[in-house]
Amino acid sequence: MLGFALRLVAKTALSQRYRFAALAGSIALASSLLVVLAVLYLNASSLLAVELSGVPNLVVEPKKTPAGVPVAELSADQVPALKAREHFWRNNIQNAAPVLLAEGNAGGRELRLAGTWFRREVPSENGSYPFGVLEFRGWSYTGEPPGEGMVVLGAAVGIAQPGDAVEIETANSTRTFRVAGVLETGSYWDSYVFLSLEELQQMLGRTDIDLVLVGALIKPRDELAVRAELYGPEALSPEEFEAWYCSPYASAIAYTIAEVVPNSSVRVLRRVTGVQEELLRASSAAFLVLFAVSALVAVFSILSAVRMYVSAKRRELGIQRAIGASEARVAVQLGMEVLAASLLAALLAYPVSGTVAEAISRSVFGVELSSGLELLVLSLAMPPAASLVALFFLRKELSRELVEVLR
């Protein structure tokens, strides 16, 4: 019985190859579209989150005594801990820059100075990672790469032009620097003059830092995160605490940073995280609903293709019924034909959807998609699943049509 049905399917595929190919092509097209959209939408939120994380959203500061004195010094050597294995959310840390604040003047004009890393390779598990103020992608730097004896001016400082020499005086010493460029941050940092951290430490005779600016990939807050923020993580049950700790909420990342940087207090820059969370929430929801709509459209397209295929074969199927084939047998044969077409479609959908999704990802986000397994599973599962759904919806209509043909 099975052998006979398989032979019939094979014969149909060969003798009506154009129609069979058209069915397989239609299923492949609809499935590929759905797979492309699924893979893109699954990855889009995290890729868009990277676009939004180009500015600092957390600030690490030393814990202070009631008199306002740091409990312990914060050091630039602690910054690599953010990317170290011990830090649970190390992969979500996009950038960090230690900052030492000071006051100085140039030509009688008071200046705010910030000693920092411009660009520094920080070791991580997977090699090294570039950290520094010029690595915040939401900030815009114009000028030459700053080196030793160079400063970068915040956009609102305006004391000199790139290439000019500036004599900067602090309480302890005076040094002449060359202006490498201008950094536009759109924040308070626009009124700072940025120096190399080591050079400012030398000028001030200090070895510590005042704060670390951190840019982290975060997840929008939900009810659990809001509760953790309002009442503190200690108010959560152990299960809730684990769920909160293992989700990249800004507050959870701040908590884990405080674990790897002892005696620190981590401030969440709420104006920034608020916008990031809202935009991510809106885009994720839009992608989810768009995906649901796409799934409906894809299933409907496959349904139409199967419907057309069945209609075109009415006479042939009617003859089979007339010479004694049961309705179930005709349905099984038709199901096998559609399944065979959908398996062929699955083989087509995998390379097609992979190529299209990859091309869109490169063009929009400039990165390769890391979703090989998702793509494979979706490509192979989607065509047969959608075809079976289509056949399920068409079963009554098929039976009615065969009766009409037999009349």
């Binding site: 058209a22 069915l23 239609s26 939004l52 180009g54 309002l230 009442y231 709420r270 608020g274 929009v364």
Partner: protein
């Protein structure tokens, strides 16, 4: 005559054509929805930027601009330590900065840094200027975390917080905060570009889908066309019949796609942002044109198929 033939043919083949029209129309609508959602996202992003709160902090204040929240900074002693007290209309301050978090309820807001330093928890009572006050804790992620914020009318105005659509007007009089601007544009560009490309892929899929569906239909009308030929209809008449049918289908598909785009984009935007879609005038035009193009290509392919059919064989019943 032709009109009657087309109308009759469409009526008789409605059960076959309806899924085809819907499949192509829904694919076109998906493309239209992706484009509309992409274009409407600019408005959603602007709305969400409200979370950023004050975007101008005026430090040189001649007059408090409309909508601005004036703040006076004073020094005071709290729990034996020196703190900076910010006097302002607290309700207006919190309304302007929706991302700020207030833990607990109280008469005064202790900034998170002050609270941590002095060991104050939400609900604690503290003595401030001889009065006992209940404290709530403010986590703003701004300088206000190092202040004690007290509700009141400022005597001297040290700064004004302002949320404005024209921050440029205030450049030079304080700090203009726009650090999310670049990220916002990068994000928006990403969303729009993604949805535009998705839309392009969907359009191509719709066209190929229509072609495939027509390919499956080809050959099923050989008897009908054979009879028409036998009754004297020429190839040109048959061509016009097919093209007219496909033109009617194209117009119907375009109209369905347009309505479906409006419904689907409204559903997506209402569900995600509670906003109505903002549809560019080019999108309906694009849907109708693409529908016409799809069905003309399909009709042309169908005609090609007709030419290959051997009518005499059909009439002989072979």
């Amino acid at each position: 005559m032709l009109r009657r033939l087309v109308a009759t043919s469409l009526r008789h083949r409605a059960r076959l054509y309806l899924p085809m029209v819907l499949a192509v129309a829904l694919s076109l609508a998906l493309a239209g929805t992706a484009l509309t959602v992409g274009e409407s996202f600019a408005y959603i992003v602007e709305e969400k930027m409200e979370m950023y709160g004050a975007n101008v902090i005026l430090t040189e204040v001649d007059e408090v601009p409309a909508g601005g929240v004036a703040v006076e900074l004073r020094s005071a002693e709290l729990e034996g330590s020196e703190v900076v007290v910010a006097v302002a209309d607290v309700e207006a301050l919190l309304a302007m900065n929706p991302a700020w978090l207030v833990r607990g309820t109280g008469d005064v807001l202790a900034g998170a840094e002050v609270a941590e330093r002095l060991g104050i928890a939400p609900g604690d009572r503290v003595e401030l200027a001889g009065d006992e006050r209940v404290v709530a804790v403010l986590e703003s992620g701004t300088e206000f975390d190092s202040y004690l914020v007290v509700n009141g009318t400022p005597g001297e105005v040290d700064m004004v917080l302002l949320r404005t659509e024209e921050p440029e007007r205030y450049r030079g009089k304080g700090v203009v905060l726009e650090e999310m601007l670049r990220a916002k544009y990068a994000f928006l560009e990403g969303v729009e570009s993604l949805l535009a490309q998705v839309s392009a892929v969907t359009l191509v899929t719709a066209l190929l889908g229509a072609l495939n569906l027509a390919r499956m239909d080809a050959g099923t009308r050989r008897r009908e066309f054979g009879i028409l030929r036998a009754m004297g209809a020429g190839r040109r008449t048959l061509g016009w019949l097919v093209l007219s049918e496909y033109l009617a289908l194209a117009l119907l598909t375009g109209a369905v796609a347009l309505v479906a785009t409006l419904v689907m984009s409204s559903a997506v935007l209402q569900a995600t942002a509670g906003t109505a879609p903002v549809m560019d005038a080019g999108i309906p035009l694009m849907l109708v044109l693409f529908s016409l193009l799809s069905f003309l290509v399909v009709g042309a392919a169908y005609l090609g198929e007709l030419r290959r059919q051997e009518v005499a064989e059909e009439l002989r019943g072979e």
